[in-house]
Symmetry: C2
Subunit: 341 residues, 2 copies
DNA sequence: CTGAAAGCGCTTACAG
DNA sequence: CTGAAAGCGCTTACAG
């Protein structure tokens, strides 16, 4: 690999001048620039990121911290990561996924080693040891999701609240007055007091109450079979429900087939909305589900921007922003059946 | 952050000595060592990885290349990544997931920038532009999976062949003589001439023939609904099939519920084996499927070892190794029903 | 507009 | 066993 000195020698300039050309950091005459560029081309020069990083004290590498506890990365997480990486690239950074366990030690180590400029934290929990570790350090970071008390912390998050209000609005507009929220009650989530779930449940209860609508709440683990079983529970406890808001990806297929098995037709007898999910989940059932889609792509980009703002001291204030889910109509929703209460 | 000079000054030694202590690269008297260690502790010293990398010409960072075309990372991919990262850690390397598109340019860039020591390639395709790019460079790499002609390329791969033979053995032992392979016929896979599929199909055809068994082949897209539809196809074309080898994760739930819907009981009427998959997929149906599990953890570790072998010149020869799937009994397999041909 | 030189934080022959 | 010094490949004041 050719180095900057090689280029400088061939172009008959100083290495400083080569640097100025590469970084466009100082004016250089057209003639000099051309000599340098020719030399670079001839040598197939690529600037060594390590040397640059050591000298400039910036690696331009951003780490997305991936909590090892997840078994798989869902479409939304991948979208998030991909769009964040893309945005980083546009801003001349590299975003990589750094696999560390959730414990604070490894975060420490990552911070200390000097390889990364900033951290993007996924799947932030309401009480998150990593956040505390980061807060106590000088490492810039942004959260995806937020802790219980995010005051002073830069984050981007899904606006579950306003999104859910939209869903209820939509269903009420279709005449539904008894609506069930079917969410993910797996043990894992219960343990960590999962933010999205907590906030969605709270909004659901409040908003239904406020509108004088009849609310039903069912939780089940995130497996197809559990979805089927949830149908039984729903029919046993609230058979006159006319709309269901599904916030449990893995249960959704089982839930819809379960309804079918009971002779219940979607959307004629019951409307089903898939909430805070992705198109591939919506498309996995018959009929395709009406969806409020997670704004993963937007969040990924915003997360990176928030981080880079900090790195380049452009941030006037801490960025705390939210993005709502977007509506994608499917074939699973329609007017409430007549004759129901 | 304290630097090595700070430590040296406080311990009243040269920075070389500090380096010797940290790296255990030269003998140091116990007394000197203690002074250095105390100083490090007092200053909270952490060695800067950038400086080390520049001086030693080794970053000790390994990149796992993630092809952007995937929409989600399945459990096996996550397991793979996690176990590889763990093994890397044990060997004092960091493994990160580097998101780049599959095109050769970005591979070039990654190679040129000097940030990484080696590359692990996931989801290798039979004809893979990234592999060609890597082959033409000096960057060490190992493949997970293999190309059409892997001669001279270091790889670790799943032994689909011997694993499938085991499955057939198992089913034949249970008295099954008419067996169906239900695999993933989605357009995506067809396009790229997907290795695992190609090899499994070939082995299936050969091995069934060799044993004089009756083979059926059905392909369907990787969605639950397609799995349901595959049942219809199977019953229409080969209703006397008594065992099915499923190699299509997303279709498996739909397939089993489809059977049930037709009044067919697993495993009384038909045995179902889930092939080259993961426990969470096996557990998502009722009954839980008998599984040949992908050896993701083993492969992840082997992949890293193969790469590190190259980096440390320990490799006598190119490592090419395979690992077979492992058997995990479920409740979906049993003796072939009597009275069938 | 261009260059000589210091310095980023380490490792590693080379001496002693 | 320990140290002085060169060097890894860059960036960036400082001069001119």
């Amino acid at each position: 690999m050719a180095t900057m000195s090689d280029v400088a020698r061939l172009a008959d300039v100083s290495i400083a001048t080569v640097s100025f050309v590469i970084n466009e950091t100082k004016p250089v005459t057209a003639a000099t620039r051309k000599r340098v560029e020719d030399a670079m081309r001839e040598l197939g020069y690529r600037r060594n990121a390590l040397g640059r990083a050591l000298a400039s004290k910036r690696t331009r590498i951003l780490a997305m911290l991936y909590p090892a506890l997840q078994r798989r990365l869902h479409e939304s997480a991948v979208e998030f990561f991909t769009s964040a990486a893309e945005r980083a690239r546009e801003l001349d950074y590299s975003l990589v996924l750094w696999p560390i366990s959730n414990d604070a030690d490894q975060v420490q180590e990552l911070i200390g080693n000097g390889f990364i400029d900033g951290v993007l934290l996924m799947e932030v929990q309401r009480d998150d040891a990593r956040v505390e570790e980061l807060t106590g350090s000088t490492m810039p970071f942004s959260l995806i999701g937020r802790t219980r008390d995010p005051k002073g912390l830069p984050y981007v998050d899904v606006d579950f609240e306003s999104s859910l209000v939209e869903v209820i609005d939509y269903l009420e507009g279709l005449g539904h007055r008894k609506i069930c929220l079917l969410d993910n009650g797996s043990a894992e989530h219960a343990l960590v007091d999962y933010g999205p779930l907590v906030r969605t449940r709270a909004t659901f209860a409040e908003e239904m109450e406020r509108r004088g609508l009849d609310s039903v709440h069912v939780s089940c683990p995130d497996t197809p079979i559990s979805g089927q079983e949830a149908v039984d529970e729903l029919l046993a406890t609230a058979p006159d429900t006319t709309a269901v808001i599904l916030m449990n990806d893995s249960a959704s297929f089982g839930f819809t087939t379960g309804l079918t098995k009971h002779g219940i037709t979607i959307p004629r007898d019951i409307s089903v909305v898939l909430f805070a999910s992705t198109p591939d989940v919506a498309a996995s059932t018959d009929p395709r589900l009406t969806l409020w889609r997670l704004p993963s792509t937007v969040l990924g980009r915003m997360g990176v921007e928030s981080l880079v703002d900090q790195l380049e001291n452009r941030a006037e204030e801490m960025t705390q922003s939210v993005a709502a889910c977007t509506f994608e109509e499917g074939y699973s929703t329609g007017p409430a059946p007549a004759g129901n209460p």
